[in-house]
Subunit: 418 residues, 2 copies
């Protein structure tokens, strides 16, 4: 068990944000982080968030049939209650495929947290990220919980997210202000994730907090609506995690008028800001994709339906041949043709149009007449690459993001557990 | 346009067969190979096979919606007639997504071959492999055809297959003898393929020849039956080619009794030998997967259906995280759990069993009690790795093969066109 983070990811992704946002305090939330020694040495690996009484929560989770114990725990909590008082997340061990020990781990940690925070068991939310299939040494977490709860402060956002990083090369955070009926509310978000990223929901672990006063039903509606074009539209390696969790907490301290329905017009600003924040976080994950050197945006239009467009877009975004070509600054649009062809959706070779950046590279079943190799190469040589495909069959469209496939991915994943 | 083969693949795959079989002559087939200078310098790039009058043919093709011009040509020929007199295949250019030029290319090459071979247009089968989306310089092929036809000999199998290699590091051939009603028949097969391999049919280009006397209907039935557990059960990188073609030619010269139906009991030996030969060729493709260092066999049993088992098996075999772990000798069975979970098929975490080699590594939603890290590591450290998963839900099963994902794959595909 070596210091994995230091050993394989000494560098920060070239796609990392130039500077990190500072999350403001958010009334009703206190945080802390500490070192439990679960797997890593010399770094923090547990974060705790504590919520004011009455905090509402909504969540979406991995659709994996082998979901982790914390995912099952959170789902069960949401079924029983819609309020949350504590969130405990560890890195270094995913507590996935850990059998009875796994369930014992989540129960023990939740019981300890409920005891210390003075709340009921189902108000404690849990998350774990790291290696799959190794027993979680949960007593290491319970041992530090009391201290972490006592030390929790409203301004410890960055410390908290740093404690849950694994192969991440930078902490992922975002913040926004929105108005509800004239009252300003704050939204803070954090997440982690770098590999095993093709969320069938939300990627790895993402936590969003607001002081808005919203019912659990409204929160859940907003979250399910926002996750589609953000976390559910990114892929690093087509591998869906066992642990994907996205939770949205609302402390209700902002004093906005009560909102009973997600279709309430007064939610327009909050919805826009929340969706932008979810996308911001999701893109931070892709920008930190394992080994990533480039951020690739794939737009598909003209499909028979939005669903068909998304399958074609993901077929392109998950193609190892497309991703390695982009890594090598190779404007190999023939591989985009291949990926469209294999997607299993309706496509007509002779209608298809493909752009790299602003350059039309293919149309009418052939290379575009004005194709220019130098311009096409330039379009795939920067840190951000845009691929657009118009199938010209219908009105369905989708946009997804991925990163390139480089030697870094092989380095990181050939020795993850060692 | 550099000498791609020499530039990026100076080595032969570590998984290559120790020695290459020599294909015997097969009555009714003559072959030749030559250098047309389509893309590569200093090597051959066109092969021709000529067939005796009355040779029957069957074929299966890529299901890609952006299939290449030669694939469309072969399908059209099969629709019109079931006899074949010539096969012309080039490397260096796939003639895929090449529009009007692409169709002009196949028509011109077929017309020239029909003229020289003295047959009708629909008796000429074509294949092209190489870069997608660049116009095929077909006149370079027609220019050398006359000479190639004149020089065709019954013993030029190896020269022929060498001419159609692209990123392949060795020529792929297989041969077998079978008895039909007391008469011995010969089957020779050749194929090429290394990247863009997850056939939705047959991989890239594969040609099988027999002197057996069989109707086109019987041939087609045998081929469709044999392709499922062979070429349709391998994957290198989950990318389905635009050019996949598997053709089976029967010259009818062996003098066996006439066979009218694929269910004729006298076909038992031929069917077994043909299926073994198809699998042999398919595995030669995986063993030459781009950058491959290991051959990985994935067995899934206990699924709800054979189709479900195959989807789970391919989910494992296509997982970049599983493939990079195996490349790094990392017995990371947690990633196999992840791949089962994301496959979208029914799975029960607590029933699932996973083996690496002969070692049971996971059962009852947990690490197996007798798990031994050293033994598990040994099981993934050789040139051949077996992964088995029992879902314990039903009787469906499937077996697929893949290779690991290494730096070699990135090297080869980051600079394919340059």
């Amino acid at each position: 068990m070596t210091q994995h983070r230091k050993a394989v990811s000494p560098h920060v992704s070239p796609l990392a944000p130039r500077r990190f946002v500072k999350l403001p305090p958010l009334e009703g939330v206190r945080l802390s982080a500490g070192a439990a020694g679960i797997r890593y040495k010399g770094r923090t690996d547990v974060m705790v968030a504590l919520f004011a009484r009455g905090t509402k929560v909504a969540g979406v989770f991995t659709k994996s049939k082998t979901a982790s114990a914390p995912v099952e725990w959170c789902k069960a909590c949401l079924d029983m209650s819609s309020t949350a008082r504590a969130l405990v997340v560890n890195s270094g061990n995913a507590n996935a495929f850990t059998g009875k020990n796994g369930w014992e781990g989540v129960s023990e940690v939740a019981a300890a947290a409920a005891d210390i925070a003075g709340c009921s068991l189902e108000e404690v939310y849990l998350g774990s990220t790291g290696v799959i299939g190794e027993p979680l040494p949960f007593e290491k977490i319970t041992r530090v919980l009391d201290k972490l709860v006592r030390q929790a402060k409203p301004n410890r956002w960055r410390e908290a997210v740093q404690a849950i990083m694994t192969t991440d090369t930078y902490p992922k955070m975002a913040t926004a202000k929105a108005k509800i009926g004239g009252k300003t509310v704050t939204i803070n978000g954090m997440c982690k994730g770098s590999g095993m990223i093709m969320p069938d929901m939300g990627t790895m672990l993402a936590y969003v907090f607001t002081d808005a006063k919203l019912s659990a039903r409204v929160l859940q509606d907003l979250l399910e609506e926002g996750v589609g074009p953000s976390f559910n539209s990114i892929t690093v390696d087509s591998d869906t995690s066992t642990s994907d969790t996205l939770l949205l907490f609302a402390t209700g301290k902002a004093g906005n008028p009560a909102i009973r329905s997600a279709s309430d017009r007064r939610l327009r600003d909050l919805r826009a800001k929340l969706n932008a924040l979810l996308l911001d976080l999701a893109l931070q994950v892709v920008r930190d994709g394992e080994g990533a050197g480039k951020l690739i945006r794939v737009d598909v239009s003209g499909a028979e339906s939005d669903e068909a467009a998304k399958r074609v877009a993901l077929s392109i975004a998950n193609s190892p041949l497309v991703k390695t070509a982009i890594a090598g600054n190779d404007a190999n649009w023939g591989r985009v043709v291949m990926a469209v062809g294999k997607a299993g959706e309706k496509a007509d070779r002779d209608k298809l149009r493909i752009w790299f950046g602003k350059q039309l590279v293919a149309e009418r079943g052939d290379r575009a007449p004005k194709y220019d190799e130098a311009r096409a190469t330039k379009a795939v040589s920067g840190l951000e690459v845009d691929i657009a495909v118009d199938l010209r069959l219908g009105r369905g469209k989708a946009r997804v993001w991925t990163c390139d496939l480089t030697h870094g991915y092989i380095d990181i994943n050939g020795s993850y557990r060692s």
